[in-house]
């Protein structure tokens, strides 16, 4: 079965410093990988995705992620963090080779990012 691991429940970083939120995945086929952000009492907002092509994916609000097939990772990064980036971040994977409900998004457990002023 496909799975996603976000090993850090909480990441703290100072404003202006680079940030990394880690994600590793496990699928049997080719992964479709996504990052979403959630602010308090709001729905999830799509940040970026990897479907195929260039391993470095650029997304919204200055975020980027690097797909690393050998390490089965898809870490989210930003060169310079803002206080407004503080939110809950979810990594997710789909495997369209699966059938039925298994084709749907599998989310990681989430990482709370806090950017300190």
């Amino acid at each position: 079965a496909q799975s996603v691991a976000q090993p850090e429940d909480q990441v703290n970083v100072a404003e202006g410093n680079p940030l990394t939120v880690k994600c590793t995945y496990s699928v049997s086929g080719n992964p479709y990988l996504f990052w979403y952000v959630q602010y308090p009492n709001r729905g999830l907002q799509f940040l970026l995705k990897y479907i195929t092509g260039d391993n470095l994916v650029k997304g919204s609000y200055g975020f980027e992620a690097e797909f690393n097939k050998s390490q089965t990772s898809f870490h989210l990064k930003k060169p310079s963090a803002l206080v407004s980036d503080s939110a809950l971040y979810f990594c997710a994977v789909r495997d369209l080779r699966r059938s039925g409900s298994a084709r749907q998004l599998t989310f990681g457990s989430g990482t709370q990012l806090t950017v300190l002023p």
Partner: protein
């Protein structure tokens, strides 16, 4: 702007009193999803529609039902809410295929 709309944003219901949450979309996506999310945990898929084709997750309680009368609207019915059903309910849409899902703002359900 094209979007996913959920009403109401906050819903309070009594234990055992049926409640309906609604979702509408202007994206003309053929796939719609309902998720349950508890206290900053990962969203849990309850069911989804490919057009009118309903797909229930194996562990979704019978207490949860859904209707999709047309492409734009989808409803979540909780027939007899229990205290454990208090959660954020998220609606999402997508095109069929590998692309991203678009989420609504959610409805926070409180059961008293």
């Amino acid at each position: 702007d094209a979007m996913v709309i959920q009403n109401p944003r906050y819903q309070v219901t009594q234990f055992g009193k049926p409640v309906t949450l609604s979702c509408s979309q202007t994206l003309n996506h053929n796939v719609m999803y309902w998720y349950q999310q508890k206290s900053s945990q990962a969203p849990k898929l309850l069911f989804h529609y490919y057009d009118k084709d309903f797909n229930n997750e194996a562990d979704t309680p019978d207490n949860f039902q859904s209707r999709r009368p047309n492409t734009s609207f989808c409803f979540l019915d909780i027939r007899s809410p229990g205290l454990g059903d208090a959660a954020m309910y998220l609606c999402a849409t997508s095109r069929e295929g590998p692309g991203e899902q678009y989420f609504g703002p959610g409805t926070r359900l409180t059961v008293t």
